[in-house]
């Protein structure tokens, strides 16, 4: 693995290795001195073409705890609108001597394109609606810590699938790890061609959350952006919550030991009720600390072995 662009880049063994290292990194977080020398002398640039607080700071801390020099560059607004091509933008940054480029971009495929232009190791921190591989890894890592092996376990993803890179990476990762996956959304928030895709990739789809939820071993609520209403994807927030929210009533139908995940930021009251977000079975904050461990592990595997 030279870059991490998609979950498709990872074999089951590679994922297991990342998780094994992540468990060690998790222990580091509990130390008083949270610093390992692994990436000393390495430079990692977090290049974010889109706003992000949690992912960017997670990568930043992960790099720093591994002793890398971490620099954040905010390049919001498409480079197209500024008249500079994406290629020129990233080549300029990489000309400064960069070992790792963590890239977040509003356009699907951007990380993959960039990886063809630069010598640096590229980590996809979210490309448009396409993928967010470290999010899927941290989700699976969190679930494994709760459930043990994911083989045969039933994971339910609910929300705006069309626009969600978290969904796309998770469906790849979870099926790869042997989980049974059901995705639930209103028809207007399901990507085009999902019937053929799900049949080929071996996951299930449903419009009916109430029918699916009681059989879930874990549930993952996806963020629903309020802007989607004006796009006509659904009539109102209220109607969405009634159909697809993890409400207090629905929480009662969920197995009591089934973890509740959310990649954040949460719209409390829209896709997830406060009772669910704060329930004992909610792993939302654990996802954050797992995220750090997984990102440390990913940076370590991609950058520590390399000759400078």
């Amino acid at each position: 693995m030279r870059h991490l662009l998609s979950i498709d880049d990872l074999s089951v063994d590679a994922i297991a290795e990342i998780f094994e290292t992540a468990a060690d990194m998790h222990d580091v977080q509990r130390r008083e001195v949270k610093k390992l020398p692994a990436l000393r002398g390495r430079t990692v640039i977090n290049m974010f073409f889109e706003d992000s607080t949690r992912t960017r700071s997670s990568f930043e801390i992960a790099g720093k705890w591994l002793s890398a020099d971490v620099i954040n560059i905010s390049a919001k607004g498409s480079s197209a609108s500024k008249g500079e091509s994406l290629r020129d933008t990233v080549l300029t940054v990489c000309a400064m001597g960069v070992d790792g480029l963590v890239i977040r971009h509003p356009a699907s495929g951007a990380a993959q394109q960039v990886s063809q232009w630069v010598d640096a190791v590229v980590v996809n921190a979210g490309d448009g609606m396409h993928e967010h591989p470290t999010q899927a890894l941290l989700d699976a890592y969190t679930l494994q810590r709760r459930l043990g092996s994911l083989e045969g376990r039933h994971v339910v993803l609910v929300g705006d699938l069309t626009h969600s890179r978290v969904f796309r990476s998770n469906v790849l990762c979870l099926t790869k790890l042997g989980a049974r996956v059901t995705v639930v959304a209103p028809p207007t928030l399901m990507p085009a061609g999902i019937a053929a895709w799900s049949a080929a990739a071996g996951f299930e789809t449903s419009y009916d959350l109430d029918a699916v939820l009681p059989h879930a071993d874990a549930v993952m609520m996806l963020r629903v952006q309020r802007e989607r209403m004006s796009g006509g994807y659904f009539p109102s927030a209220r109607e969405y919550t009634v159909g697809y929210g993890l409400t207090r009533d629905r929480l009662a139908t969920l197995k009591p030991d089934a973890p509740i995940c959310h990649p954040g930021p949460m719209n409390r009251g829209l896709e997830i009720a406060a009772d669910a977000a704060d329930a004992a079975q909610s792993v939302v904050l654990e996802q954050v600390s797992s995220g750090l461990a997984v990102r440390m592990s990913v940076l370590y595997h991609l950058l520590a072995g390399e000759e400078s």
Binding site: A80, S85, A107, T162, R168, A192, G193, A196
Partner: protein, 421 residues
């Protein structure tokens, strides 16, 4: 002086010589002292006519000019091209059209026939000065807002009615903007779902094609569908023709050979509008071209400067080169299409649709616009070898069947042995 073209097989059928007099017309006997062009083993076609070319001048002379685009056309076997109106400024006045016409004449390699905009500034609201463009020395007959759809039904209706006065035709870029907006860049289907690219559903084309054939029927006017890309559009056009509606349609070479799965690597070289479609659509388009439902092959040659393609996929420019490779792509996609049918769809019918009386025929008395093709050759495309100013060439590295050897424009070779004269 004159010219004698010896040994070519006319439309792939009987072999004979072609004679060109001093005035550049086809005649029935060799003029004294004529230059000889050896075409032994080659197929002679009437010079190719492209209904759909973007030459980028004025406005983006870094991507292509009327001269460099004319060179690409000649190398591809073309003797006439219709230059689309979406330049900067837009070809929406007689003055703008005349400038394109005259720059084409100055280049002197093909007839560059300007297409006029349907609406002022391609804004889709007010009609451009269609009549003044038609009455000008440029004799504009084809009108198109190509790049944008004339989406307002009332504007489209008025345009169709208005051009009847001078035998014009509206060439529609069929894309309902509410179903496929400006960011839509990947055929909507399983792949767009997986890749997370904004989908461009076939239905966005089909609803406009369906609406426009009904408007053509209602107005008794003539409509031309640019770059048809889906099986559904083919069905509608087939139905409309059966009703006697005056509709013609073109397909691009790339929609006859390339499919949407090329987008898997997010390479903007394959970003084009309308997008590449799945194999089922490609099959339907090939069948429609063979059976006459689709009338013409048109390149939609769309040069772009390299930096306009080096953005993230959704931000990169739409379009691909096509002039130099069109004939080879058609031969590769439809190897069983007869040369006579190739001549129809790439020369005779486009010339008729565009009202170019001097093109599309090898009949005696016609201007000698002749394309000579080696049917047995094959060419591996090298984008660096292109005479276009741009390099957004989706055919790079592909082997295409047949090769344009000579192009004769008005009795004068513009290309000899594959090289510009």
């Amino acid at each position: 002086m004159g010219l004698v073209i010896t040994g070519a097989s006319l439309l792939g059928e009987k072999t004979g010589d072609l004679y060109v007099d001093d005035a550049g017309r086809l005649v029935d006997e060799a003029p004294a002292g004529a230059e000889v062009l050896d075409a032994d083993g080659l197929v002679a076609l009437p010079g190719l006519v492209d209904l759909h070319t973007h030459l980028r001048e004025p406005g983006r002379e870094d991507a292509e000019t009327i001269l460099t685009g004319s060179r690409a056309a000649a190398v591809g076997g073309y003797t006439a091209v219709l230059a689309m109106a979406n330049t900067s400024p837009v070809t929406d006045t007689a003055e703008a059209a005349l400038r394109v016409l005259d720059l084409g004449r100055e280049a002197g390699l093909v007839d560059v026939q300007p297409v006029g905009a349907v609406t002022r500034g391609l804004a889709g609201e007010e009609l451009a000065e269609l009549g003044l463009m038609a009455r000008s020395r440029a004799r504009v007959r084809v009108f198109s807002d190509d790049g944008k759809c004339v989406h307002d039904a009332r504007v489209m209706r008025r345009a169709l009615e208005y051009v009847k006065a001078f035998g014009g035709v509206v060439s529609q870029h069929a894309q309902d903007p509410t179903l496929a907006g400006p960011t839509s860049c990947c055929h909507e289907g399983e792949l767009s779902g997986r890749l997370g690219l904004p989908g461009w559903p076939g239905i966005a084309e089909e609803v406009i094609v369906a609406r426009d054939v009904m408007l053509a029927r209602h107005t008794g006017s003539r409509v031309h569908v640019a770059h048809v890309s889906t099986a559904g559009s083919v069905e509608v056009i087939r139905w409309a023709k059966a009703q006697g509606i005056d509709v013609t349609a073109e397909v691009t070479p790339h929609h006859l050979l390339l499919t949407t799965d090329l987008l898997t690597g997010y390479d903007p070289t394959y970003k084009v509008n309308p997008p590449l479609r799945p194999q089922e659509d490609v099959d339907a388009l090939r069948e429609a071209l063979a059976d006459g439902t689709i009338d013409a092959v048109a390149t939609d040659h769309a040069p772009h400067a390299r930096h306009d393609k080096e953005h993230a996929f959704v931000d990169a420019a739409f379009g691909m080169l096509g002039l130099e490779t069109a004939l080879g792509v058609v031969r590769t996609a439809l190897p069983d299409l007869s040369w006579a049918r190739v001549a129809q769809v790439m020369s005779t019918t486009p010339a008729r649709i565009a009202g170019l009386a001097d093109h599309g025929s090898l009949a005696l008395g016609s201007p000698a616009h002749v394309t000579l093709v080696d049917p047995a050759a094959s060419v591996t495309v090298d984008r660096a070898a292109s005479v276009s100013l741009s390099r957004n060439n989706p055919w790079h590295g592909r082997k295409l069947v047949s090769r344009v050897v000579h192009t004769v424009y008005g009795g004068r070779p513009t290309v000899r042995d594959g090289v510009l004269v």
